[in-house]
Symmetry: C2
Subunit: 401 residues, 2 copies
């Protein structure tokens, strides 16, 4: 009898230690990296009042909403200029987007709202008090937590770090993942097939791509044939250069499934199968502080197992986040197994803003069908205790990478 | 009076020529690249019937659903082996996941469903005809279009290309984007601020990051001060090394906005403002076959303009796709301008599978607020003709990069 998926995850989490490996990268190399510290504002931003438009900085009390008030023009303050001007009664100064508001000014009248002649600014279209003035702390206040540890840095976080003057950023070192595909029937990239019993390996590039998308470094090891000593050696050697070894194939009940035996003999197997479809023969082992994920050989299974187990480990390293959303199922689904099922599906948002899940174009058949995960497919989760779902049911969807 | 956003896009599209620059990359470097050709199946896959499990290949007619039928075991077919076996009456052969089904076999009885003794296989738990046999073409049929031109290659498309034996892939050459930030008030990464009228540049790294996320190469040019000759020279020089030049700042109505003038004098300005908030001073120009996008200097505006204009151009290069979804608004929104507005918002999916949009944590104020786009923010689209929205309204949301 297989243990449940949830039970197997508990075991995985129990064996997980903290990933406290941090390195510094320059900001221009930080896109997509995972932040290893909270980022806190050291001061209010902006630290001084600045102008949000091109116009005339003035004292609201000098026109107080009345049309055609006239103010004496004292000159201008280009952006970046530091001028010690203090406005007196009925005075104004030309001020540009991003410029400091001068002392005692409280309002900016835009260029489009005035007539200027002979050094006099006539306000033809008054504005309200404080118009177009960026207040101190408008963007953020001192001590505000702006980006939290574990955030994957995208374009706007990069922009914010630049604005804050953070140039050398603490990010998590990428875990090194090595991918070892096994199978006497599989040929490598660029190799010719010799006869119809052979197929081309896809797992190694698939899993390496997923590892990269999940924030890891990935290395593809040479494919190894189904021979016990070769498999054992490849696993032992492969472990040297990585933090996480992912194997594919060789974990089922067949006479040529030698990954299983190699792990039993040389590592501590912590997960030995789970009541899930696909992937019930999944094995997870530890070798000192390293993890080995032994995934099935069928590529759909391997790719799904990679999110069901490897991603869970990475999330516990970097800070957990949910990959599940709810959706409304567009068709009936009848379960294929007595297990917890993960079924490739398409996710769309309809005209009413409802997330719908459908199986259009997803081919029925074995777990060998790679193309079922194309086009940003996600996974419909069908619990152990259900026979399936009816059209219109609210279902849980697990996002792939 | 500004033209509408839609009108400005029509002009942009009219000036767009085909992006027919294609290069070959090896499969292991193709993740995230954009496919430049359709990928079509050259043959059925699998091309021969193969086993989906470990078990015994046999003729269904020899047991026909009856328990305890006994079959003579002829040996085995490991995965990858080519054996010329033809089953006779009441014969079977051990066959492993991924192995060829032998001639005249039509059904696979899994290992778990039999007892084996003295070369005889007793079927204790019969299966239906065709069980666990991967049919010819189960994954795809000859001539099926599997991946279309314009697809961004993710992990599963990479896997499929490997399976197909496609090793050297035709992808679009990445457009080269150069980013030129202008402004006398902005200091570069790592430079100290000298006084409170200066701020740190964030636009250049933000726009370069967005360019990378949109599938381009990005280069950051030196920041240029608000001096007409410097700005003009920087634009002319910057154009040399790129396909698309993106400037920030210098396009408004102020006396120090010199990007505007430089474009008017040296390029063909095709878009001169649009009735949108933020970014109404957007300018788009052409210089021979190159594009210049002159974005506003405030970073929120610049980043939003980058998706509203630059992404539209890239979509027309690579094949258009929609970035809009519908959502239900969680709160009232009152418009701030007479224009088409794009407002930073959070997108969540609720328990019923409904996409909701809210403005929680989005700070009110000017378009200078970088952090409003953090945490995977999207944009609430508020049309020109509306004053705003009420809580519960179905609204259009534009996804950022």
């Amino acid at each position: 009898m297989f243990q449940s998926y949830e039970e197997s995850l508990e075991i995985l989490k129990k064996h997980t230690t903290e990933w406290n490996r941090v390195e510094k990268v320059v900001l221009t190399e930080a896109l997509g990296r995972i932040l290893a510290t909270d980022i806190v504002a050291k001061e209010n931003y902006p630290s001084h009042e600045t102008s949000a438009m091109d116009g005339y900085a003035c004292r609201f009390c000098d026109f107080d909403g009345v049309e055609n008030a006239e103010l004496k023009l004292l000159g201008d303050v280009p952006a970046g200029a530091l001028k010690n001007v203090k406005l007196g009664k009925n005075e104004c100064i030309k001020t540009f987007t991003g410029s400091l508001m001068c002392e005692d000014s409280d309002t900016l009248v835009p260029i489009e709202n005035v007539l200027v002649k002979d050094g006099v600014v006539k306000i033809t279209n008054p504005v309200k008090r404080g118009f177009a003035v960026r207040k101190v702390g408008e963007s953020y206040k001192k001590d505000e937590v702006l980006i939290t540890k574990g955030t994957k840095l995208s374009y706007s976080e990069i922009a914010l770090l630049a604005e804050l003057g953070e140039y050398h950023i603490s990010v998590f070192i990428k875990p090194k993942i090595a991918v070892l595909s096994t199978g006497s029937e599989i040929k490598d990239l660029g190799e010719a097939l010799e006869h119809e019993a052979q197929i081309r390996s896809s797992n190694h590039v698939a899993i390496a791509s997923m590892a990269k998308l999940m924030g890891c470094e990935a290395r593809i090891l040479p494919i190894v044939k189904d021979e016990p000593n070769l498999v054992k050696e490849a696993i032992i050697n492969g472990l040297q250069g990585c933090d996480i070894l992912i194997t594919t194939g060789g974990v089922s009940v067949g006479d040529y499934d030698f990954v299983k035996g190699a792990l039993n003999q040389n590592c501590e197997v912590i997960i030995n199968g789970a009541a899930i479809k696909p992937g019930r023969h999944i094995k997870v082992a530890k070798f000192n502080d390293k993890f080995i994920f032994a995934l099935p050989g069928f590529p759909y299974s391997a790719m799904v197992m990679c999110v069901l187990y490897v991603r869970v480990l990475l999330d516990s390293f970097f800070g957990s986040k949910s990959h599940e959303i709810n959706a409304v199922l567009s068709e009936d689904y009848k379960k294929k197994s007595p297990f917890l099922e993960f079924v490739a599906c398409n996710i769309e948002v309809n005209q009413n803003g409802v997330v719908t899940a459908n199986l259009k174009g997803k081919k029925d058949g074995s777990s060998a069908i790679v193309n079922n995960l194309n086009s940003e497919a996600a996974l419909l989760i069908v619990p152990l205790e259900l026979d399936g779902y009816k059209k219109g049911d609210v279902v849980k969807i697990l996002k792939m990478v």
